[in-house]
């Protein structure tokens, strides 16, 4: 059976939704099983989707359209970029359920229902082809996440849940006003149509800022990142995984799907702003990460730094930069998710996230130390792991646009090595200073099953990234072609002529872009 003749996206949305409702009415044991079954089934559907996706076919595949809700069209469809992010979601979801198998003991049914609902909404965000439908999925994620942090979170959970909710809500509402204007201007909420609508240049600026308010918070970019460390630290392990793994990617996806191709001129005008904030974020949050005593907070700050490399890559306006940014998003989704799971593994044993309470774990937990080492290296960006591919591409793309931004963003990798290796040394190496930490047993089968698939994916992406680049290449090229007219000149070329006139010269970018495209 071919996935193209089957409403696979609707089914992928419906499965977790129905499972969520079922979970509310059954006992804890049953809820766990239902949740795991549903997420694994969705993973299978995701694999089928991946196999059936034709990278050389139509730009939008598996499209569905129904007018059930009047002005809100039930329009779904994916391109390669959506595909990779949907895969990331369905891949992480069973792992999240597995991670909560034993650590969540109260109100299990509601917990599983909240997670399954999150899965529906995440897939919906990446598959929606109607602007209003996208907004509903995008915004609705606040409710389950608010409950996950607030009910099953740590001591400061209430403050964190409020901060998370209100920060993201304020950002999103500005975007809503802009969306309403766009729909009225274009006369349609159809995203593929809007992608080819030329909005007036003077209005683009305002629309861009409204979208930026939402996506910058979601991303999160400095200085609106402060909700993230709080939310991460307070959320249960699986909540952190899904937050870092997928929710942050919605910001990057938003920039890539809306801000850049719909408002190319405004995006080009705001490059200094984006690069400036990203440069600050890379250096500042890396330094903050260096002095953290709380493991989760450290990883949360490192997320902000990695996301800053994503924004730099996205706003390079060239193929490498954008492809690199997408790979960083995927890689970070896997790696930071895995790191939070690693924290969860030892947190479940000792119930503290204080770094100084551990030490010398490589002696009593060798398997754990090995996997933790792998993910640490992937986070640093060691060649052979997924982190390297993305960061290298993103920074190579950025170099064509701004030498300074690249220089400063690259220091993030050095600082990243600093804080991650320092973290690893304090946890895994050295003397076993704490008796209780030294007595912890190594990972059991369940924990291995959670981390091993991520480890495999991380290495796969590092060794053979073509698997993940193939589906996105054509779609990135489409975006690059669309924004060609506004692409920035770049300051890294040896050129006798005045660089500010570069964009008026014939043949500057087009031929170069074509050459890049064929290199991959």
């Amino acid at each position: 059976m071919n996935a193209a003749d089957f409403p696979i996206l609707s089914v992928m949305l419906a499965v977790p939704m129905l499972a969520a409702i079922a979970c509310l009415f059954v006992r804890a044991e049953m809820a766990r099983i239902i949740a795991l079954t549903a997420t694994l089934f969705n993973l299978l559907l995701g694999v089928w989707l991946w196999i059936s996706y034709n990278p050389a076919g139509a730009q939008w595949q598996f499209t569905e359209s129904a007018s059930l809700f009047g002005p809100i069209g039930w329009k779904l469809g994916i391109d390669g970029i959506s595909l990779t992010l949907i895969m990331l979601s369905v891949f992480l979801m069973p792992i999240c359920i597995g991670a909560s198998w034993r650590s969540i003991t109260s109100r299990v049914g509601e917990y599983m229902a909240a997670f399954l609902l999150m899965e529906t909404l995440m897939i919906g965000v990446f598959a929606a082809q109607d602007l209003m439908l996208f907004y509903i999925f995008f915004e609705a994620g606040l409710i389950p996440m608010y409950l996950i942090i607030g009910i099953w979170g740590g001591a400061e959970r209430i403050y964190a849940s409020y901060k998370f909710f209100l920060y993201t809500l304020l950002g999103s509402l500005m975007m809503l006003i802009a969306m309403l204007w766009m729909i009225q201007f274009a006369g349609t909420a159809d995203i593929p149509t809007l992608l080819n609508t030329d909005f007036p240049v003077d209005v683009q600026k305002w629309l861009w800022l409204a979208f930026f308010a939402s996506f910058a918070v979601k991303m999160p970019m400095w200085p609106v990142h402060t909700w993230l460390p709080d939310a991460h630290v307070q959320a249960p392990t699986a909540g952190s995984v899904i937050l870092a793994g997928v929710l942050l990617k919605m910001g990057g996806y938003g920039f890539l799907r809306f801000s850049i191709p719909m408002f190319p001129e405004a995006s080009a005008d705001f490059i200094p702003l984006v690069f400036g904030l990203s440069m600050v974020a890379v250096v500042y949050t890396s330094l903050v990460a260096l002095v953290q005593n709380d493991m989760k907070k450290l990883i949360a700050y490192s997320s902000v730094a990695h996301m800053a490399i994503v924004t730099v890559g996205l706003f390079t306006f060239n193929q490498q930069g954008i492809e690199g940014a997408i790979i960083v998003m995927l890689s970070h989704g896997l790696v930071s998710g895995a790191l939070f799971l690693c924290v969860g593994v030892i947190y479940d044993r000792l119930h503290t996230r204080e770094i100084s309470r551990y030490g010398g774990l490589s002696i009593n937990m060798p398997k754990y130390a090995l996997l933790f080492m792998l993910f640490t290296m992937a986070s640093v960006g060691l060649p052979g792991t997924s982190g390297f591919v993305g960061e290298f591409l993103a920074l190579a793309g950025a170099y064509k646009v701004s030498t300074w931004a690249t220089l400063i963003a690259t220091t993030g990798i050095i600082l990243g090595a600093g804080y991650m290796l320092y973290l690893y040394r304090r946890i895994a190496f050295g003397a076993q200073i704490n008796a209780d930490a030294a007595a912890m047993p190594d990972m059991d089968g369940r924990e291995m099953w959670l981390l091993a698939p991520i480890a495999a994916a991380v290495i796969w992406m590092g060794v053979y990234p073509e698997t993940f680049l193939a589906p996105i290449r054509r779609d990135v090229a489409t975006i690059v072609a669309r924004i060609e007219r506004a692409a920035p000149a770049g300051d890294s070329k040896l050129n006798a002529k005045d660089p500010t006139t570069a964009k008026y010269r014939v043949g500057g970018h087009g031929s170069e872009k074509a050459a890049e495209g064929s290199q991959h």
Binding site: L68, I136, L173, M174, L176
Partner: protein, 480 residues
């Protein structure tokens, strides 16, 4: 126009009036007739609503009694909504009123009479009709507010409502007399003609006074002061009624007055409406933050919602009016649902609880009830995918289409403040430790009606968008 046609057009009011009188007689002859009269009243409201249903698509305006009364699609859309809210208030009331020893037959009769008043309000095409309808509603409401005679708070609420309501009626009447004096007519059509072009200061004053009086009735800021006190003091089913049906009637009347009577002076009333809308949104949101009493909290929430509804009016377009009607429908479902939940908050000691502290940890002891209430709270906050989002979306869409960007941006930013206190209720129910003083609901009616309202507010409600959009557009078209 002959009398028969007029009588035909006002048949829904006729049904209600004669039935109210008949039911009053029944109540006089039969002791303990509260429940029976309630059931009959619901039947009467359904009959009147069914009659109104015939006119939802009427293309032309049908004026009765030489232009005093207008039976158009707009009025009938509103009437059905009002009758629905009134019928719901009757269905959910018995357990509470029996506990307060106030389940007397006058309760349904007064509600039916106030429905007559509201029917006249939404159909008014003349200042006299407007005033008669408004007073019929107000006088019934004053009595309803103090219906629990033995309860001091209820009596206080009734008195407060009466004194302040009388003041507002006076203001409105003064405005009406100014308009009549300067325009020379009480008919909306004639006033509209007289207001064309430059107008005198007297007419401007008249407009301001009439709008102030109406703003009081719909509890829009800065005329909202009575709302929290009256809502808190009145018996809970009555509060639910006040927050739904009369609000619809007053809002619809406001729409009719500004579009039909003052339609030629958009610049004059538009700024008033914008100011009132923003003040209501902000005062409603900020005022609710410190409230510990759930009824007061819902009172501020209703002020807040009136502000959002008025954003549609500020747009002043057909789209804006249609958006308001959609919002009103959703608002009625949200508000009635919230009050149905309040009616289920009966403590183990048998008393009704209405403080925020009493529902701490409700999700652990009564998960279904807490989930229902959470749905209403998120819906009131306008968070998708709940249906309350759609109401907010359509009014803001109308404001954006009319080019009112500052209004839309300020309004939507203030809705984040509003979200804060709705979240607080959810937080208390879901995150706090359980106090476990709420008993199991013994009344299945409340469970079912509450569940029904929750279903409407859930994403399932989105399926009603096509029908709702069509009917509200037809209704709004009747005004232009």
């Amino acid at each position: 126009m002959d009398l028969n046609t007029s009588l035909f057009l006002v048949r829904s009011e006729a049904i209600l009036s004669f039935s109210a009188l008949a039911l009053l007689l029944l109540a006089a002859w039969r002791a303990e007739a509260g429940r029976l009269v309630s059931i009959l009243s619901v039947a009467v409201l359904v009959a009147a609503g069914a009659y109104a249903g015939h006119f939802l698509f009427a293309g032309t305006q049908s004026l009765a009694f030489s232009g005093l009364y207008s039976n158009d699609a707009f009025a009938n859309f509103s009437k059905i909504l009002i009758y629905f809210a009134a019928a719901m208030s009757l269905i959910i009331a018995p357990p509470f009123l029996e506990k307060a020893a106030a389940m007397r037959a006058e309760y349904p009769v007064l509600i039916v009479l106030s429905c007559v008043g509201m029917g006249l309000m939404v159909s008014a095409a003349d200042l006299i009709t407007l005033y008669i309808g408004l007073e019929l509603l107000s006088l019934s409401s004053y009595v309803l507010a103090s219906f629990a005679r033995t309860d001091g708070r209820s009596a206080e609420a009734g008195l407060k409502y009466f004194v302040l309501g009388a003041l507002a009626s006076g203001i409105l009447l003064f405005g009406a007399s100014l308009i009549y004096g300067f325009a020379g007519s009480t008919s909306f059509a004639a006033i509209s003609t007289a207001l064309d072009g430059d107008i005198s200061l007297g007419l401007t004053f008249g407009i301001v006074f009439i709008l102030s009086g109406l703003a009081f009735k719909m509890s829009a800021a800065p005329f909202h002061m009575w709302t929290p006190d009256v809502y808190e003091g009145a018996p809970t089913p009555v509060t639910g009624y006040f927050a739904s049906a009369p609000k619809v009637a007053a809002t619809v009347l406001m729409i009719r007055v500004v579009t039909e009577a003052f339609g030629t002076q958009v610049m004059v009333w538009q700024q008033i409406v914008i100011v009132v809308a923003l003040m209501s949104i902000i005062i409603g949101a900020v005022g609710a933050i410190g409230q510990q009493n759930l009824k007061r909290l819902l009172a501020y929430s209703s002020i807040n919602n009136v502000g959002f509804i008025l954003i549609g009016l500020a747009a002043g377009t057909e789209q804006g009016i249609a958006a308001m009607l959609v919002y009103l429908v959703i608002y009625v479902a949200m508000t009635l649902g919230s009050f149905i939940v309040l009616l289920q908050l009966k403590g183990r000691d048998g008393d009704y609880k209405e403080s925020l502290g009493d529902i701490a940890g409700l999700s652990k002891t009564r998960p279904a009830l807490a989930a229902t209430f959470a749905i209403f709270m998120f819906s009131l906050a306008g968070i998708p995918p709940l249906f309350g989002f759609w109401g907010k979306l359509v009014v803001f869409d109308a404001a954006v289409a009319a080019g009112l960007f500052p209004l839309a941006v300020i309004g939507i930013a203030a809705s984040v403040i509003g979200a804060f206190y709705y979240l607080k209720v959810v937080k208390v129910m879901y995150f706090d430790d359980a106090v476990d003083i709420i008993a199991e609901t013994d009344d299945k009616t409340l469970v079912w009606t509450g569940g029904l309202m929750a279903l409407v507010n859930s994403p399932v409600g989105y399926f009603s968008i096509p029908v709702l959009g069509l009917l509200s557009a037809q209704a709004a078209k009747a005004l232009f």
